[in-house]
């Protein structure tokens, strides 16, 4: 029993780290650009696909590949902001539909270029070690480590740098931020960079652990939705904590309840949004 719970806990933290990264991207985009970015699952998938292509095609090392993927997707995000989302006018529903279309577009292009079959990468860090009967694989440890570093770095960036504070200011009140001399469009552009880089990082990190295919993003998008609602729409700490909580809950739930866990989580989301739309971890 102890082993079962602890092992689910460990797996849960791994999944939770991935969810935390994706949900951070999602929540940043919602908070700063007002975009319900449904294509975040596809960006995650694109991260995995790009890493696969870089490693298999150009035999680049894992870490360099991850950095390149982040840079590429971040730039892609800035391009999207400039080419699509800045030019869209209208309400939030327009943005949501635009992002849905974007997700379809990315899936279609990946299906055409990458193929429909799932492909697997050989993990760069084979092996595992044991502590008090619990198995911990090195590659999963790396994922958690990198995720943690990125999240802490983002937190420091948001708390202590001028640009980071500008981003948070825009999330709170666009007009007030503008009056204080924040260049809103630059902040939005930067938000897209960060959000897509972080979501792509999540994809690149899990690429060696799971099969890489064009549809790996859809379930992740759904989980990101749950996480973001639980943590409060637009809240970065909420997304991180929510991601870890959902990852752990989901894994423990899978062990004891099986497949109904996701169903229960979605029901919780609906109840949460009705009763407490600002999220569990909102402190404002």
């Amino acid at each position: 029993m102890y082993i079962l719970i602890s092992q689910s806990l460990i797996n849960g933290i791994l999944a939770g780290m991935i969810y935390a990264l994706i949900a951070s991207g999602f929540t940043l985009l919602y908070g700063n650009a007002g975009v319900l970015f449904f294509a975040i699952g596809e960006v995650f998938m694109l991260g995995a696909v790009l890493l696969y292509c870089l490693i298999e095609g150009m035999s680049i090392s894992y870490f360099l590949g991850v950095v390149i993927v982040m840079a590429l997707l971040g730039t892609f995000g800035m391009f999207l902001e400039r080419a699509i989302f800045r030019r869209l006018t209208g309400n939030d529903l327009t943005f949501a539909i635009g992002s849905l279309a974007l997700g379809m577009l990315i899936t279609g292009i990946v299906l055409k270029t990458f193929g429909e079959r799932g492909k697997g990468l050989i993990t760069p860090f084979p092996g595992s070690f044991k502590i008090t009967g619990l198995v911990i694989a090195y590659d999963k440890l790396i994922v958690v480590g990198v995720g943690l570093v990125v999240i802490v770095a983002l937190h420091l960036f948001f708390s202590f740098t001028k640009t980071g504070r500008a981003i948070r200011a825009v999330a709170q009140d666009v007009e007030a931020a503008q009056l204080m001399g924040v260049e809103v469009f630059r902040v939005k552009s930067l938000t897209f960079f960060l959000a897509l880089a972080v979501a792509g990082l999540a994809g690149a990190l899990v690429a060696p652990l799971y099969y890489v295919d064009a549809f790996m993003g859809t379930p992740v998008l759904m989980t990101a939705l749950i996480v973001v609602v639980l943590g409060g729409l637009g809240s970065f700490p909420g997304a991180v904590i929510g991601g870890l909580v959902i990852g752990v809950l989901e894994n423990i739930g899978q062990t004891f309840l099986g497949g109904t866990t996701t169903l229960l989580l979605f029901m919780i989301v609906i109840v949460m949004l009705i009763l407490r739309p600002e999220g569990l971890f909102a402190n404002e």
Binding site: I97, L225, L273, I274
Partner: protein, 328 residues
């Protein structure tokens, strides 16, 4: 005779001709494939019209597949487990759908905007996962659904029979929704969509309107679900995924939200596009997505506004032209 009356008569005449055309077209073109396309357009139009009605009341509902699934599964279960025929099952399904929509509507009456959109997506997902996880509902397995029983001596097991049933339904629903929009209720709904606080301040009971509109939309969608199930004959949970809701949403975005023709034209477009385009699902995804993005950029009012847009474009160009030689 004044101008308005002439316009009304002209318009009624055009509708009459259009109806005659739609009634006779399956008898003129006798290809089963063509009939199939007409039926699919009709189903998509019904779903689009109901989703448009809900969205135009200010509730960004993005989970139409939920009610579609409730209709289809309700029919199959009532037929398989209870042994009802189509015509007695439909009212029961209507009651169930109305009850579910009533509950959802009242529970979410205080939620609006993006949180409501997320609730609707989560709701659709709850319905889909409930189907998958409950063995009683069939799980991942597909159900076989027999065609509707004949009514008034008309057999509905053929494509033509189903086509006429859907056509009648489309006309009724389209007409009712159109009348609803033009009525004082429609004005109230429009005000709600523009500004809910304002609507409340002038005495519009927004909660009640929202719930009723959600119920009406849900009823039409679930009725469409029963028709879909009995036409296709086999249903499984894959027909009611997030993608289905997205396609319904895109139908009205492409067609246009301004009037009742938007979802109908959008339905024709969305149904015919994959048939015209060669290639697999990937190509169709790319085409759909590109068209939706282009619509969002340059044709915000959807395809129905295309003639108007073209007119203003050409008139604008004509106005900017220097006076021609023949001009006085």
């Amino acid at each position: 005779m004044n101008e308005v009356a002439v316009k009304t008569i002209k318009r009624s005449f055009a509708y009459f001709i259009g109806l005659i055309f739609l009634l006779s077209i399956p008898l003129i073109v006798k290809s089963a494939y063509f009939h199939h396309l007409l039926i699919m357009i009709g189903l998509a139009a019904l779903l689009g019209m109901s989703n448009r009605l809900i969205i135009n009341s200010g509730a960004w509902f993005m989970g139409m597949a939920a009610f579609y699934a409730i209709g289809a599964y309700g029919l199959v279960l009532l037929r398989e487990k209870v042994g009802m025929d189509y015509w007695s099952a439909v009212p029961v399904i209507g009651l169930i759908t109305a009850a579910i929509a009533l509950g959802l509507g009242y529970a979410t009456s205080r939620v609006r905007g993006i949180p409501f959109a997320i609730i609707s997506v989560a709701f659709a997902e709850v319905i889909r996962l409930t189907i998958i996880k409950t063995p009683f509902l069939g799980g991942h397995k597909a159900w076989v659904c027999p065609p509707p029983e004949p009514i008034f001596g008309i057999t509905l097991s053929s494509k033509i029979g189903i086509y006429y049933l859907i056509l009648v339904l489309c006309v009724i629903v389209g007409f009712l929704f159109h009348r609803l929009e033009k009525s004082p209720t429609g004005n109230a709904l429009m005000t709600m969509a523009e500004n809910e606080e304002l609507a409340e301040s002038i005495g519009i009971n927004t909660t009640r309107y929202k719930v009723v509109v959600l119920m009406v939309g849900a009823l039409v969608a679930s009725l469409t679900g029963t028709l879909f199930a009995s036409y296709i004959g086999i249903i499984g949970p894959t027909s009611f995924s997030l993608m289905t809701s997205v396609i319904i949403l895109m139908t009205i975005v492409i067609g246009g939200m301004a009037n009742i023709w938007g979802p109908i034209i959008g339905a024709a477009f969305v149904t015919l596009l994959p048939e015209i385009l060669p290639g697999q699902a990937a190509d169709q995804n790319i085409a759909y997505a590109t068209i939706v993005l282009l619509t969002l950029f340059w044709l915000r009012e959807g395809l129905i506004s295309l003639p108007k847009q073209l007119k203003t474009y050409f008139e604008g160009r004509a106005a900017h032209k220097p006076a021609s030689i023949s001009g006085r």
